[in-house]
């Protein structure tokens, strides 16, 4: 069995800082991590490999530094790593990213399963997985919470939707986007780390995967970020100082206010 996992390197978002002058994100000194959801996707791939045999390939599109993300995947137990890195890819929106990844996946055929995270914590769009599936005409299940069964031609999954857990049976090859419930990511082992350090990460550019360089990257992206603004807070309401007038009077003023607005 051959499973391909799409992983993205993202800035560690819990401490994203903004430059107060320019309103842009401060990138210096910000640590890069593998998108948390993609670690769950990797875990799922490795578990399936343990059950059924075969190999797992991790692929990523990003700057050369994203090689670190690939090595992390290798140290967890992936067999091969492929980094799609080229100036032509820079600035890709989700459409262009989907094009690059789908072209790369096509070159890696044959495969049985392609996995992606439900979304990346930097863009928060969740569009790339469905985009890749669509371009490759692969059957798609998003928001997968568990794989119930994997047989020769089919995979049965559960996905978490608004109404509950829905089960679907997809023919292979297909694409799944994985949520957190698919499995808690394992830590790299020491041996894994040593192996990953020695192993070659394959680098590929537009000509290798046969995509038109003009139709990817910033130039090939239909969407453009045209402005970044810091949110402005709009309301300026009345303030009641309970410390001064006492909790009882403050509560009475609150109740008056609610009555004025027909909320009581």
């Amino acid at each position: 069995m051959h499973v391909i996992v799409c992983i993205k390197q993202v800035p560690e978002t819990s401490n994203v800082r903004m430059d107060p002058q320019t309103g842009t994100i401060v990138r210096e000194g910000v640590e890069s991590i593998v998108n948390p959801f993609d670690l769950h996707a990797l875990e799922l791939a490795l578990r399936l490999k343990e059950q059924r045999g075969g190999r797992v390939t991790a692929i990523s599109m990003g700057p050369r530094a994203a090689e670190t993300a690939i090595r992390e995947a290798l140290s967890m137990g992936c067999d091969d790593g492929l980094l799609l890195s080229d100036r032509a890819f820079a600035g890709s929106d989700t459409w262009a990213t989907s094009r690059v990844l789908s072209a790369a996946v096509r070159k890696l055929a044959p495969f049985d399963l392609v996995l992606a995270g439900v979304r990346a914590t930097d863009g928060e769009t969740g569009q790339v997985g469905p985009g890749v599936a669509s371009l490759l005409a692969l059957p798609l299940a998003t928001y997968v919470s568990s794989v119930l069964e994997l047989t020769d031609g089919f995979v049965t999954v559960e996905r978490l939707i608004e109404e509950g857990y829905e089960s679907l049976r997809l023919p292979l090859p297909c694409l799944l986007t994985a949520g957190k419930e698919v499995g808690f990511p394992r830590l790299p082992t020491l041996r894994g780390k040593q192996r990953a350090r020695r192993q070659e990460v394959v680098h590929r550019g537009p000509t290798d995967i046969e995509v038109d360089a003009a139709r990817v990257g910033l130039a090939g992206s239909p969407t453009r970020v045209t402005a970044i603004e810091r949110p402005t807070l709009t309301r300026t309401g009345r303030i009641v100082d309970a410390a001064r007038i006492g909790a009882g009077r403050a509560a009475a003023e609150l109740a008056d206010f609610l009555q004025e607005h027909h909320l009581l």
Binding site: E124, P130, A255, F257, L258
Partner: protein, 343 residues
């Protein structure tokens, strides 16, 4: 020129968000009109057998046209079938803009379709406008963990596609449509083989998300880290009971395990648009505001006069929540009892 909204259904009934989308759609159609580009607002409804009254309700809530395609393959939702039919409709109708809900279905269908149409898509928009000069769709969404708002344009590709979060807008008011308007419901035949998916739908294990209660509530009382410990939520629950409100929470309160994730309001939780939102011991981080800013009336209780929540509050009480909130519960109950005594 047309603005399309994608209605969502479950078991033949349209979901509330289908009507909310008309609020967004009408705003855009008006914007196009104002920029000299008259546009029709069209709701697209795909399903197996949709309830007639719901389709009429779309016209009563402002759709100029409702375009209905029905086929057994369109319920339950499978992305391949929906995308097949929708792609056909788009190539035929050439809409200027398509907006859908940022639900699990919308967030699957829209990207699947967008790459096929070779056009852009912006997820989770919090504001949509029409540029008065160019007539382009201006898409605004939080980025960088909610710290900034990014404006995104799809200037050179059509249709322009965007998803918006459920509950970020109220449905437009319902106006009984003139009988002649019934004609605006157009049915489209689905060619054989189009509404098909290689995926087999097996079953749904229904589990009503507890969070639905927060999203659908007219009133929400939410607590944050200021409650100090899990038991502190008692204060919030008492007020929620007195005001007949649902209980919400900040991420800090959820991360500390004081209350379940389904109650979380904000960027990585629920978006709510209640008539009343009471924030108790919540500082008003931008990520929290992202989920509740559109409430009609916002009340905040916080001991820190500089807390950011006061910048969005219509009424702010500076004080100790453990004194103010119980006093308010008492006051509310006293007034209610007095009123009932009168009547």
């Amino acid at each position: 020129m047309a603005v399309w909204t994608l209605a969502e259904q479950a078991g033949g009934r349209l979901k509330r968000v289908s009507y909310e989308l008309l609020t967004w759609g009408r705003h855009l159609a008006d914007g196009l009109e104002a920029s000299g580009r008259p546009a029709e607002l069209c709701a697209i409804a795909l399903g197996a057998r949709l309830r007639e009254e719901d389709l009429e309700e779309l016209t009563e809530r402002g759709a100029d046209r409702v375009c209905v395609a029905e086929s057994p393959g369109l319920d339950p939702f499978l992305v391949e079938a929906h995308a097949g039919v929708l792609e056909m409709l788009v190539r035929w109708g050439r809409p200027e803009i398509i907006i859908a809900a940022a639900t699990t279905a919308g967030r699957t269908l829209m990207p699947y379709l967008a790459v096929r149409l070779e056009t852009g898509l912006t997820a989770d928009c919090t504001r949509l406008e029409i540029d008065p000069d160019t007539g382009h769709l201006v898409q605004i969404r939080p980025a960088a963990g909610g710290k900034v708002l990014a404006t995104i344009m799809t200037a050179d590709h059509r249709p322009q596609m965007a998803t918006v979060r459920p509950h970020a807008a109220q449905p437009p008011p319902r106006r009984p449509a003139a009988p002649a308007l019934g004609a605006c419901i157009t049915r489209v035949d689905v060619p054989d083989g189009l509404a098909e998916s290689p995926v087999e739908w097996l079953a749904l294990r229904a589990e009503q998300a507890a969070g639905a209660a927060v999203q659908d509530a007219e009133r929400v009382v939410a607590g944050g880290r200021g409650l100090k410990r899990a038991e502190g939520f008692g204060v919030v629950r008492n007020l929620a009971r007195a005001l007949e409100a649902a209980v919400g929470a900040s991420r800090e309160a959820v991360d500390r395990g004081w209350i379940g994730y389904p109650h979380q309001v904000g960027l990585s939780g629920k978006t709510v648009t209640p008539r009343l939102y009471v924030a108790v011991g919540i500082s008003g981080a931008i990520q929290h505001l992202a989920g509740m800013q559109t409430a009609d009336v916002i009340v905040a209780v916080n001991e820190d006069a500089d807390a950011q929540i006061f910048q969005v509050a219509d009424l702010g009480v500076v004080g100790d929540l453990f004194e103010v909130v119980p006093a308010l519960v008492e006051e509310v109950e006293r007034r209610r009892a007095a009123r009932e005594g009168d009547g």
